[in-house]
Amino acid sequence: MQTEQELIRLETIINDLLDEAKKQGASNADAGLSVDNGLSVNVRLGDVETIEHHCSQGLGVSVYFGQKKGSANSTDLSAKSIKETVTAACSIARYASEDQYAGLPDPARLATEFKDLDLYHPWDISADDAIDLAINCEDTARQYHADINNSEGASVDSYSGIRVYGNSLGFLHGYASTRHSISCSVLGERNGDMERDYWYSVARDQKNLDSFELIGEKAAQRTVQRLGARSLSSRKCPVLYSAEIASGLIGSFLGAISGGSLYRKSSFLLDSLETQVFPDFINLYEQPHLLGALGSALYDAEGVATQANKIVTDGILNTYLLSSYSARKLGMQTTGHAGGVRNLCISAGDKNLEQLLKNMDTGLLVTELMGQGVNPVTGDYSRGAAGFWVEQGVVQYPVQEITIAGNLKDMFQHILAVGNDIDYRGNIRSGSILIEEMAIAGE
C-alpha cells in the first residue's frame, strides 16, 4: 500500500515536470524518476565489516523545442529543483542543433497494457539477520577446504526501487521492483601462490536466491580449483566459454547490432540484416514479459511497448535493436530497444558442460576474462583469460596469464555448440559456448 502511495506521489512529480516544461515553452518533453532504498552488509572473517543504508533518488527530464533537444537531471525532487532542472534542460536545448531525427516516439508504439510482471518482492530482513546470513555463507566457504586461508568476505544486499516515466504524448506509468543478492569471495594459497574467486546469486524474490551453503561452497570450490595455475605455450585451439562468461560474448554481438553503433558506423556488423551471422543451429530470442525475471519490462526507456522478438533465426539476423532516434537515423522503425534488450536468450543444445568438454576433446575451458580488449568497429578481440586446459574431454590443470584472441565476426560463425547449463543471473541468458578455434598467447 505504501508503494501505491509512493507511486502516486512520484507520478505527480512527473506531471509537474512535464507541466513545467510546457510552461517554459517546450513543444514536447519526457521525464523519468527513480527512488531506491537498500541495505548492504559485508562481513569478513566472521565479523561485520560494513553496513550501508542506501536511499537515493533522481529525476531526469528532456525537453524538445521543435527539433532541438536538451536534458537535465538532479538528485533533488523538490518543487524548486523541478523548476530549476527544467530550466537547465531548456537552456541547453537553445544551444543544441536542429536535429531532424530528434523527438518522442511514434504515439502508436507506446505501451498501453500494463500487466504486473511480478518484479516486486521486498525482503524484510534486518541488518542483524543479513549479517548472520553473510557470516554463515562465508563460514561455509572458509571450511570448504584446507587451502582456503583468507577471505574478501561475503555480502548480502537487498534493494527496492520505484521507477516512473512519462512524456507529453500522455504516457505515464510507474512500477516497483526489488533485487536481492548474496555473494562470497575467498582466497586460497598453495606453495606460495594465492588465488581468489567468488560466486553469487541474484533474484527479484529472495525465495529464489540460492542457499548460502551453495554460494559459499561454489566460491570456495572455484578458488581451490584455480590453485597451481600455470601459463600455456602459444597455440591455436578450441575454446569453451563457461556459461557465466558466455553472456559477455553475446553482449558484444548485441552491441554490434544496436542502432547507436550502426548509425555511427562503429560496428563490425554493418549491413548484416538478413544475413547469416551465426551457424544455422543458433537462435536468439527475447522474452521481455517473463514474470519475475531480472530483465523484464513492459516498455523501453522511451515508453515504447516491448514484445517477444526473434532476433536471430537459424543463424540469420532478423532485426537490429533500435530506439526511435537510431531508427529514424537509419530510415527504419523503432524496435522498442531504447535501453537495450530484455531477457535475451540463446537457444540451448542438449549438452551439459561435461558433455561439451567431451565434444571439445582438447582445448581451453575459459572461466574468467580480463580487460576490455574488444574493438567494436572491426570485431578484433584479444582478452586476458584464466581457466583450465582440457585433454580428451577431461580437465588437466588450471591455467592463467594467457590471452585468447580472434575476430568476433569469425568467432560467431564458428560456434560449434551451446550448452544447456544456462546462467539465469542476468539479462542475457546463455549456456556455455564452444568456439572452433582461437589464438592463445602465453609463456
Binding site: 543504508h53 538528485t75 544551444y95 543544441a96 594465492m194 580487460g371 580488449g373 586476458g384 584472441a405
Partner: protein, 480 residues
C-alpha cells in the same frame, strides 16, 4: 585553504540553512560511545556534457548531484548512511542508522587529528561558466569542421565535452570543517576512417582540474583531433599482432597504465591490511629492477588525478611506492592506516557521498631514467613497441594484470616497422617490473583521461612513465 572552506560553505551550507554548530551537534552524537572515528561528507556537484555527432550538437545535459554521507568507524567496521537531502534531521537519522555498527566496537579512540594544512592545487573558477554556452557550441562545431578537413577518409567524428564543479565539505572528529572546490574538464575526439571498405577508429582526449580554456590554450583541442585521426589512419595499415612472450617497449605517458594495474592496485592499503594482495607483507623486498622508482603523487597542480585534500580531509602528498626497485610502502586511507599502525597518505577517496572511502590512487608514475628512447628501440632485435592503450584490469590476489594496446608496431632489427592490430598484454604484477631493463629519460604524464574503477566506484586518476623496455611480456595477438 580558508578561502576554499568559505566557498564550500557558501555552496553547501548557506542554501540549506545549516549552521556549523548543527554539524558539531551531529558529530557529537556520531562519535559518542564505542567508536573510533566518524565523519560527515557533504557534496554538491554540478556537471554538464555536450555531444557533437554527425556535424551537429546532438545533445547536451546538465546534472546536479548533492547530498551528505555519514560514516562511523569502529575497529575494522564501517557504517555508512546518506541522504540526498542536506538537512539536519536527515543527518541525525543517518547517524542513528550507522551507530548500530558500533554495537560490538572497541573503545579505543585515536588521538584527535589536527586540522590538515593544505593549499589549493587548482583554481576554484567554475568551469561550466568559464565560457558561454554559445562559445561551447561554436568551439565544438569549429573543432568538428577542422577535424573533418584533416583527411578525406574520415567518415565519422564524435566530440564530447564534459565539465564538473564539485564543492566538498568534510566534518571530522575534533577538527573544524575542511572544504575543497574541485573543477574537472574533459574533451574527447573520436573518429572513424574508411578506406577500401576497411574501417578503423581512433580516439584521443584530455582534461585537467581546470576550466574549458584549457582546451583553447595552445590549440590543445585540435591536437587531440590530429592525434585521433593519426591513430585511425595508422590502424588502417595494421597487420595481425604477434602472439606470445616477447620484448616489449612501452611508450611514455598513458602506457603508464601498466603501473596503475601491475602494481598500483596491489599497493592499496586495504588489500594489504587484509593480506589479499600479491604484494602483502613485501615492504622492503625487491619488486622491480633497480632502474624503477614509482610514486603516487596527489599534489601535481591542475592534474586530473590531483586533490588538494582527499575525501577524508587528509592533505594529499607524494608517496614513494617503489624506490630503486625496493617496495617502500602502501597507499592509505584513515581506516587502513590506523589498523596497520601507519599514517594516512592522503589516498582516501570516494566516488560520492553515497559511497565509503577506500585507498585509491591519484597520479601514479615512474620517475625518468637515463636512456634515450631511440636507444631503447635500437636495442631490441625483435619485439613490440606499444604506444597507446585502452583500459586495463588486475586480479590483485594472483597479481595477473592486463592492459590493451590500441596502437602498436613491430620492432625488427632495432627499428620500428609495421603497425599491428590492437592486442591485450598480460603479465604478473610482482615480477613484471623486475624485467625492466631500460628506462627512458622522457617521463611524460597522460593527457588527463584516466578513470579508475574499484568496487563499483569510479574516480579520476592520472598515470605516467618514461619509455620502458620490458624484457618479456605476453602479447595477445592472433599470429601464433
Amino acid at each position: 585553504m580558508d578561502n576554499l572552506l568559505h566557498l564550500a560553505k557558501q555552496a553547501i551550507l548557506v542554501p540549506t540553512g545549516i549552521q556549523e554548530s548543527d554539524i558539531h551537534r551531529v558529530m557529537d552524537q556520531l562519535i559518542s560511545g564505542t567508536v573510533d572515528d566518524g565523519d560527515i561528507y557533504f557534496q554538491s556537484s554540478h556537471a554538464e556534457s555536450w555531444v557533437l555527432e554527425d556535424g551537429i550538437i546532438r545533445e547536451g545535459s546538465h546534472s546536479i548531484e548533492q547530498g551528505a554521507g555519514v560514516r562511523v568507524l569502529s575497529g575494522e567496521k564501517t557504517g555508512l548512511a546518506y541522504s540526498d537531502k542536506i538537512e539536519i534531521s536527515e543527518l541525525l537519522a543517518a547517524t542513528k542508522n550507522v551507530k548500530a555498527i558500533a554495537r560490538q566496537g572497541q573503545n579505543a579512540k585515536i588521538a584527535l587529528p589536527s586540522r590538515p594544512s593544505y593549499s589549493p592545487l587548482y583554481s576554484s573558477v567554475n568551469p561550466l561558466s568559464s565560457i558561454t554556452d554559445q562559445q561551447k557550441v561554436d568551439f565544438l562545431r569549429q573543432l568538428d569542421s577542422r577535424t573533418r578537413q584533416l583527411d578525406s577518409r574520415i567518415e565519422q567524428v564524435i566530440i564530447s565535452l564534459v565539465g564538473v564543479q564539485e564543492h566538498i565539505l568534510i566534518a571530522n572528529q575534533g577538527s573544524s570543517l575542511v572544504g575543497d572546490v574541485r573543477p574537472l574538464v574533459r574533451l574527447n575526439v573520436s573518429v572513424i576512417v574508411e578506406e577500401n571498405g576497411r574501417r578503423e577508429q581512433g580516439g584521443m582526449g584530455g582534461g585537467a582540474r581546470s576550466d574549458y580554456n584549457y582546451f583553447l590554450d595552445q590549440d590543445r583541442a585540435f591536437s587531440y583531433a590530429q592525434e585521433a585521426v593519426r591513430q585511425a589512419l595508422v590502424n588502417l595499415e595494421a597487420i595481425p599482432a604477434p602472439a606470445g612472450s616477447m620484448t616489449v617497449v612501452l611508450g611514455s605517458g598513458w602506457p603508464g597504465i601498466l603501473l596503475h594495474e601491475a602494481i598500483g592496485h596491489g599497493l592499496e592499503g586495504d588489500f594489504n591490511r587484509k593480506g589479499t594482495s600479491a604484494f602483502s607483507g613485501r615492504v622492503g623486498e625487491r619488486v622491480a629492477s633497480s632502474l624503477c622508482t614509482v610514486v603516487d603523487d596527489g599534489t601535481l597542480v591542475d592534474r586530473r588525478g590531483s586533490l588538494s585534500v582527499d575525501d577524508e580531509g587528509t592533505a594529499t602528498q607524494c608517496t614513494t611506492l617503489i624506490e630503486d626497485g625496493i617496495l617502500k610502502g602502501y597507499m592509505q586511507d584513515k581506516l587502513n592506516a590506523r589498523l596497520m599502525g601507519v599514517k594516512p597518505t592522503g589516498n582516501g577517496r570516494r566516488e560520492s557521498y553515497a559511497c565509503t572511502p577506500m585507498p585509491r590512487m591519484t597520479n601514479t608514475y615512474m620517475l625518468p631514467g637515463e636512456s634515450e628512447p631511440e636507444e631503447i628501440i635500437a636495442s631490441v632485435q625483435n619485439g613490440l613497441y606499444a604506444k597507446n592503450f585502452g583500459g586495463g584490469q588486475v586480479d590483485i590476489t594472483s597479481g595477473k594484470f592486463v592492459f590493451s594496446a590500441s596502437e602498436a608496431y613491430l620492432i625488427e632489427n632495432g627499428k620500428i616497422t609495421q603497425p599491428v592490430k590492437g592486442a591485450t598484454l598480460i603479465g604478473n604484477g610482482p615480477d613484471v617490473l623486475t624485467r625492466v631493463s631500460m628506462v627512458g629519460n622522457d617521463l611524460e604524464l597522460d593527457s588527463g583521461v584516466g578513470t579508475c574503477g574499484k568496487e563499483g566506484q569510479s574516480v579520476p586518476v592520472g598515470v605516467g612513465q618514461p619509455t620502458l623496455k620490458i624484457d618479456a611480456l605476453t602479447v595477445g595477438g592472433t599470429d601464433v
